[in-house]
Subunit: 356 residues, 2 copies
Amino acid sequence: MTASLTVRDLGEKRIIAEIIRPMCELADVPIGIGDDAAMLSVPAGKSLLVSTDKIPEDLLAVQIGLMDAFHHGRYLATVNISDIAAMGGEPAGLLVTLALPSDFSLQYLTDFYKGLIQGCSEWGIGIVGGDLGGGTTPCFSAVAVGFVEPAQVLRRNGASVGDQVFATGPIGGFNTALLYFIVAKPRGLALSSKDEEYLRCKLVHPIAQVRKGRLLAASGLCRSCMDITDGVARTLFELADCSRKGLAIREDLLPVHPATAEVAEFLGKPARDVVFGIGLDLELLGTIACPRDGLPASLRDELVVIGIVKEEQGNVLVAPDGERIPIPSQGWQHFAGSALDLVKASAPVTRDPAPR
Amino acid sequence: MTASLTVRDLGEKRIIAEIIRPMCELADVPIGIGDDAAMLSVPAGKSLLVSTDKIPEDLLAVQIGLMDAFHHGRYLATVNISDIAAMGGEPAGLLVTLALPSDFSLQYLTDFYKGLIQGCSEWGIGIVGGDLGGGTTPCFSAVAVGFVEPAQVLRRNGASVGDQVFATGPIGGFNTALLYFIVAKPRGLALSSKDEEYLRCKLVHPIAQVRKGRLLAASGLCRSCMDITDGVARTLFELADCSRKGLAIREDLLPVHPATAEVAEFLGKPARDVVFGIGLDLELLGTIACPRDGLPASLRDELVVIGIVKEEQGNVLVAPDGERIPIPSQGWQHFAGSALDLVKASAPVTRDPAPR
């Protein structure tokens, strides 16, 4: 395929017949692409989970040249599969809906689909359907389908006072990466190549926490759960708000990569401001009932406990010296302005000299 | 709400919390909007159907001022539910994914959701989830979920030689309406107010054929089926192509509204050219095995037989005088140009004088 071909050159029907369908044909479903709807059999005793997410047309990692078409497609698959993970489900299939301008590159579309299929295959599923249409600007969205035992499903709204607040892994890495690549690195901060690669992966290669979601569901102990897609502070706010409770998060327990502190220091702000910024970490945050004899072995090494559920609403960060700092409720919100502006605004343009 | 408010004024989270969620709360699902995914229980013995369709951002009926926000939303719901109908399924829920520019009217969005909910309630379902995000231009898409007995599902690819070709109702009305409102009426054709209203409904108030799809599925006789979304000729082509057969359609059997002949005559073209043009009639087209003693009573009054399946590929229209006219394979295709240009190009700019 020559690099200059656009979707107009082949047209909708030929793109589906000659590019998309052959790539997707291995999907293990009885009826998929080519019929009006996909048909999937549902395991006995399970309920259906279905979720849809679009990703911004101007994804920052694409804008700044860190993300290629393959990882762009994988990203769309992964953020959708992550919604199934956040409910404790097992993914079953993905549908992909794209609106593309007629001069959109066919090569980009093909590589995007390769990434979508990669993102699916990581969880043993395939692309089972979708829709391809025209648009003035690109619109990338997908639908994840999954199954779950209805009695085990993870919801957002069951937090109880005394529950432990957990994260499934490091948080704040996405926002650290944005601040590093967009602000700090251009101003001269040079992290080690290992740390830089770690941050690059946070932006371009997120991981859906399906396995940990399934463990949480099976444990019967998880009382609320969601994935981090709009920033850590916003996720903590929504989690607490759904249960009309408050969360007390211990700053010394936050699972934060050392690069976050380096970037924060360079920008002259506390590391917590970076952790609680915008960002799509995809780790699960939630609350869990803690049995008298501690978490079961199956969960002990999978979760990081970061705080506790309290009665009074309003989330607070408890600093090591005992100071209680309110955690803001904001995070990423559509229609509030561009993500790039938000990142730039969150970093002071010049560092204040340290007080003497 | 004042008419001048835009989505930027409220922001994503408040729009969902204050407008969308309250409107959707009656949806009868255990878990829906507010969690990461919707959960639906699956009736025993049934398989899942899931489909996604976006509608063009520049829908012609909106462009020409015939369709308001309410019917725009209802249209999005209906074309998605129609995909479940085409598979013989029963609808179970709808998810809605919108990308909107930040100056998009909140009033339009609210009315759009009222229409979505109306389109769902016609089939006893509700909106169970979705995603709302920003975009340079609007992108309207949805996901329909349904259930079907796996042994009864209607597919596209089972047509056998000798099957009867059926339609569930009148065809060509959508294209007739486009040609009337965009070309013929501005040039002076005045249909009766009843016919004009009929054509207006074809554009702005399509009906998903869920009931007839269910009857076809239950009959065990339907061998191929799809809904008309890209024009009658294109649908007949895809249906035949999926089974590697040909269809012989009898012109005298086509269920065509008298207004189609009037518009065609005014434009100086045969009625069949109007019937086979672009258009989203949403009637089902398919093929059915005809028992020796004729169609069962349950189907006899529900279908119009319009032709027969033949071995040789290539669809033909058999005129009343026996002439066999090839039916073109084209129809509406994304990336091929604007629908408005297509409609205008399909009508001669001046009528040829009738030969004397």
